[in-house]
């Protein structure tokens, strides 16, 4: 046995299992606390109830820019360079996580460094400098993201962005979190100041604090954040998604060797409700994210080798290609069901689309089988254990619980539901919330006209494999190649990639 000569001690501390007891609702501003005695670190998450849904028309991206003007810019006390210098030896940083409805400032520090960290973190929120040079830098980064990275460097993220934009066109959800290129270009320092004044108020925030903080720190934090101006911004009505009357296509024309496909429709179920957990089981079976247990993955990737993976979602899941487990603090009052087909060779695009639609149709018509149900709920019962291993992640989940007005922890409810839900509950929820015929479909591909024509003709999409396939796969292919796709000409739009996300 080899033992290191100096070992630091680890502690286990049982934190409060029910942080959300009481009459908390989405409107409550009571702090969310996860004290952990003896934890040498402190985790901060300060949630402001603002996001891209609050972007004024013509200024899309303002929520994002404003958050970055706090987290990545100068304060009245320190220039941005000085802040970086001061954070450097602390081996920490603070960041902003902005999403459609939430903006969260977060950071974690060792207790040794808490005072230095805290004052820099508070300055960022309380006394941002709003300097023109910081604004120029941040705008340039966002414009580069929209005009270059998103349009050209990641077709799968592009497909997902187009899906969301189309489903929520002309609503507060109908643009990227990063905004539009015209919107960002038009943002001025005065816009940022006024947005900050309107939304960064003491009545519009929730404190999240976890780890080894002292009661004094909490008291100071409350006192400091109370220095923000008063005022509760008017709530934004829940975004109403497009009224789909069948399959609806947006084809992005792009010179690409592969085709990325994302499709979906709005759903009413939100976490906390029985239906949501029932759908979580059905969704996990159909398309558990980055997991070979996903049925779509089995059909499209495993049996046929058409791409790198195929998944489905019942909650917003940004940057899916970069993460293994669900994100936090991207809560929304309106969610969509989404299927994500990672890039397939162009010549198999229609086949892959049909394969996915056919599987989804089968599920909506026949429901889950007993075996699949049992296996999936057993999987989820333990899999959710991996969702929040750190205090920071648990704090983020607790804030999401508050967003959804949950009085019990979502993750605990999740596990309870895995034990109590029945197959008929799941199949009833599928019938209630999922339908096959009305779906928005975003396709990033080359020769968009050719694809549109094939769709309109409902032309068969024969597939040729370069390698042998089992008889069972070939038999199933016979059904897939001519699986009917009914779409009206008026429901197909073609958009050149260079024209996306401009306004």
């Amino acid at each position: 046995m080899k033992t290191l000569s100096f070992a630091l001690i680890c502690f286990l501390v049982i934190a409060l299992p029910h942080t959300m007891v009481g009459e908390e609702t989405v409107t409550s501003n009571k702090p969310v606390l996860l004290p952990v005695k003896n934890d040498p670190t402190i985790s901060f998450r300060i949630w402001f109830k603002v996001g891209s849904q609050n972007d004024p028309a013509g200024k899309e991206g303002l929520a994002s820019v404003t958050a970055a003007m706090l987290s990545d810019a100068s304060t009245e006390k320190n220039s941005y360079s000085e802040i970086l210098e001061k954070l450097y030896p602390l081996a920490t940083s603070y960041n902003a996580s902005a999403s459609t409805e939430m903006t969260v400032f977060y950071g974690r520090t060792h207790k040794d460094n808490a005072q230095q960290f805290y004052s820099l973190f508070m300055d960022a929120i309380l006394v941002p400098a709003f300097k023109q040079e910081d604004l120029d830098r941040i705008k340039s980064q966002l414009i580069n993201y929209i005009e270059n990275t998103l349009r050209y460097a990641s077709d799968e993220e592009l497909g997902k962005a187009v899906l969301y934009n189309e489903l929520f066109r002309e609503t507060p959800y109908g643009h990227l979190l990063a905004g539009t290129s015209d919107g960002i270009k038009s943002i001025t320092i005065d816009d940022v100041r006024s947005f900050y004044k309107q939304y960064y108020t003491k009545e519009n925030l929730v404190i999240g604090l976890g780890g080894g903080y002292s009661p004094e720190l909490l008291a100071t934090l409350k006192k400091d954040l109370a220095k923000l101006p008063a005022g509760a911004p008017k709530p934004v009505p829940v975004a109403k998604a497009k009224n789909l009357d069948g399959l609806d296509f947006t084809i992005v024309e792009k010179d690409a060797a592969s085709t990325a496909i994302s499709m979906g429709f709005p759903i009413k179920a939100l976490r906390g409700t029985k239906d949501w957990y029932a759908l979580a089981i059905a969704n996990s079976w159909l398309g558990e994210h980055r997991n070979s247990s996903s049925h779509l993955y089995q059909v499209i990737r495993e049996a046929r080798g058409l791409n790198y993976g195929d998944y489905s979602y019942i909650e917003n899941y940004p940057n899916a290609g970069q993460r293994q487990l669900p994100p936090q603090n991207v809560s929304r009052r309106q969610q969509i069901f989404e299927i994500w087909i990672r890039p397939v060779p162009n010549e198999t695009r229609l086949f892959a689309l049909r394969a996915a639609l056919r599987e989804f149709k089968n599920l909506t018509e026949h429901g889950m089988t007993k075996n699949d149900f049992e296996l999936t709920r057993s999987f989820l019962n333990k899999y959710v254990l991996h969702y929040a291993p750190t205090t920071m992640e648990r704090l983020a989940y607790a804030l999401d619980d508050r967003f959804y007005g949950l009085t019990a922890s979502h993750l605990e409810t999740f596990r309870k539901m895995m034990k109590t839900l029945t197959l008929s509950d799941v199949n009833a929820s599928i019938k209630k919330h999922w339908q096959y015929g009305k779906m928005e479909i975003a396709v990033v591909t080359k020769d968009a006209n050719g694809f549109r024509d094939a769709l309109l003709k409902n032309a068969p999409s024969p597939i040729k494999y370069s390698t042998p396939k089992p008889e069972s796969v070939l038999n199933e292919d016979k059904e897939i190649v001519s699986f009917p796709i009914k779409v009206k000409e008026a429901n197909i739009r073609i958009a050149p990639v260079g024209e996306l996300f401009v306004k």
Partner: protein, 441 residues
């Protein structure tokens, strides 16, 4: 299991200044007679275990022409199961225990990792030991998987950085296998379906106990764990065949290239220098690590100039990696205007020249050392972060003892040694410079 939601794992960082060792956990290392090394790191993480099988083979070991990308491809094949537990059965057993399981391949190693509840440890050991010893797949499955790998390539290659890396490595190396990226050349990936027989030899040569290290962290009892490992892995036969990797001869002159990206992007410049393999005993290597941050990190003068003040670049950063053989020490920057490209490049050269002649301020150096320590320790907060954070060191050195040696070496680096490292590594003869421009810019 309910308590898992209330589980918190943390470490005491307050003592690091006095610590003899940077690594905060006690650990135990055992080796089976067949050469399989097992590193067990118990942590207070009630109920959760992370299990990494680190195969010390990556794209570096792809020595035969036409076989680039094979280590990565093989990683995919490892999920196709055995006769006892065919792929779908393996999948359903892993699904049943709710494990978070995946794998990845790098230049120097391939890692298979699972996070799961502690009561499933024996099941995981049984399944993992089975597939590492008895992998079995038919030719059609092998050929189908090649399609998925090609899909992964297609997904990645739309990113300009993938295109740039491919070129830099190809240009910088003549004979060493770092010439190709981990995912491999496109032509080789396309030809993978024809390599069924080769794949069996790949498994037979590299998936052997002497070439694999298990890293098991979390809520474990080391005695019981070792008993299980012994039970399930002892029959695994030795047989590792070391590949003949041709060393790269010293580069004699600067190499440059300009490439086009089939899309729209701001220009990107990659200035790469031939460095040294990971060596915790080397002052130069430790100093180069610090130098990358000091010269190009976010508190560096050049970062302040180019990113914050003049705003001529989207970002600039440096990378001094941990590798078994001499890798590239790289400096990247995404430049806003094409016409600034040369001046940015010259700024990088000028900065490096300054580091060769002027000693760095002591306080900046000590701030950076402090940052390294706190950063390393704060990252070790879950079993998965610990095992995952150590995987590369395990792969490169065969153990984790060198983590301590590296941090001790870093702690001892002086401003003069940083000057010396700058003089040694950042010379025109060692340099490869590639500029990528968007075709549609």
């Amino acid at each position: 299991m309910k308590c898992l939601f209330t589980t918190l794992i943390f470490i005491v960082l307050g003592n690091i200044a006095m610590s003899q060792s940077i690594f905060p956990y006690k650990y135990q290392v055992e080796t089976l007679p067949n050469g399989l090394k097992v590193i067990m790191i118990p942590m207070e993480s009630p109920g959760l275990v992370a299990y990494y099988s680190v195969v010390r083979t990556g794209s570096r070991d792809e020595v035969e022409p036409g076989k680039s990308g094979f280590a990565h491809f093989f990683e995919h094949m490892m999920f196709r199961g055995t006769k006892k537990y065919p792929g779908p059965v393996y999948d359903s057993l892993i699904t049943n225990i709710g494990a978070n399981a995946n794998a990845y391949t790098t230049d120097d190693y391939t890692a298979y990792h699972l996070n799961f509840a502690k009561e499933d440890l024996e099941r995981v050991i049984e399944l993992e030991s089975d597939r590492f010893q008895n992998l079995y797949y038919e030719k059609p499955d092998f050929q189908t998987e090649a399609g998925a790998v090609y899909g992964e390539y297609r997904k990645s290659i739309t990113n300009p950085f993938s295109v740039l890396n491919e070129k830099v490595q190809d240009l910088a190396y003549d004979v060493h296998t770092y010439k190709h990226t981990t995912i491999g050349f496109e032509a080789d990936i396309k030809a993978m379906p024809e390599q069924y027989e080769y794949s069996k030899s790949f498994f037979a040569r590299f998936y052997r106990p002497e070439n694999v290290v298990l890293v098991i962290t979390g809520d474990i009892d080391t005695k019981k764990t070792m008993k299980l490992v012994t039970k399930y892995y002892s029959d695994w036969k030795k047989g590792y065949v070391k590949p003949e990797i041709v060393p790269e001869p010293p580069q004699k002159a600067e190499r440059t290239a300009e490439i086009s990206y089939n899309g729209k992007t701001l220009p990107i410049i990659d200035i790469a220098y031939k460095g040294d393999a990971f060596d915790p005993a080397s002052k130069d290597y430790a100093a180069a690590n610090l130098l990358g941050d000091l010269a190009f990190g976010e508190t560096s003068d050049l970062y302040k100039k180019l990113v914050i003040n003049e705003q001529k670049v989207q970002f600039i950063s440096a990378n001094v990696p941990v590798n078994r053989d001499a890798p590239l020490f790289e400096i990247y920057s995404m430049v806003k205007k094409l016409e600034d490209l040369n001046s940015i490049r010259d700024d990088v050269y000028k900065t490096l020249e300054e580091f060769k002649t002027k000693p760095i301020d002591e306080k900046r150096l000590s701030d950076l050392k402090k940052r390294y320590k706190y950063g390393f320790l704060m990252g070790l907060d879950t079993p998965d972060h610990v095992a995952g954070g150590l995987a590369r060191y395990v792969a490169v050195t065969g153990g984790i003892e060198d983590v301590d040696r590296l941090y001790k070496q870093i702690d001892a680096v002086t401003p003069l040694e940083i000057m010396k490292a700058a003089q040694k590594y950042f010379t025109p003869e060692r340099r490869t410079v590639v500029v990528l421009k968007g075709a549609q810019s």
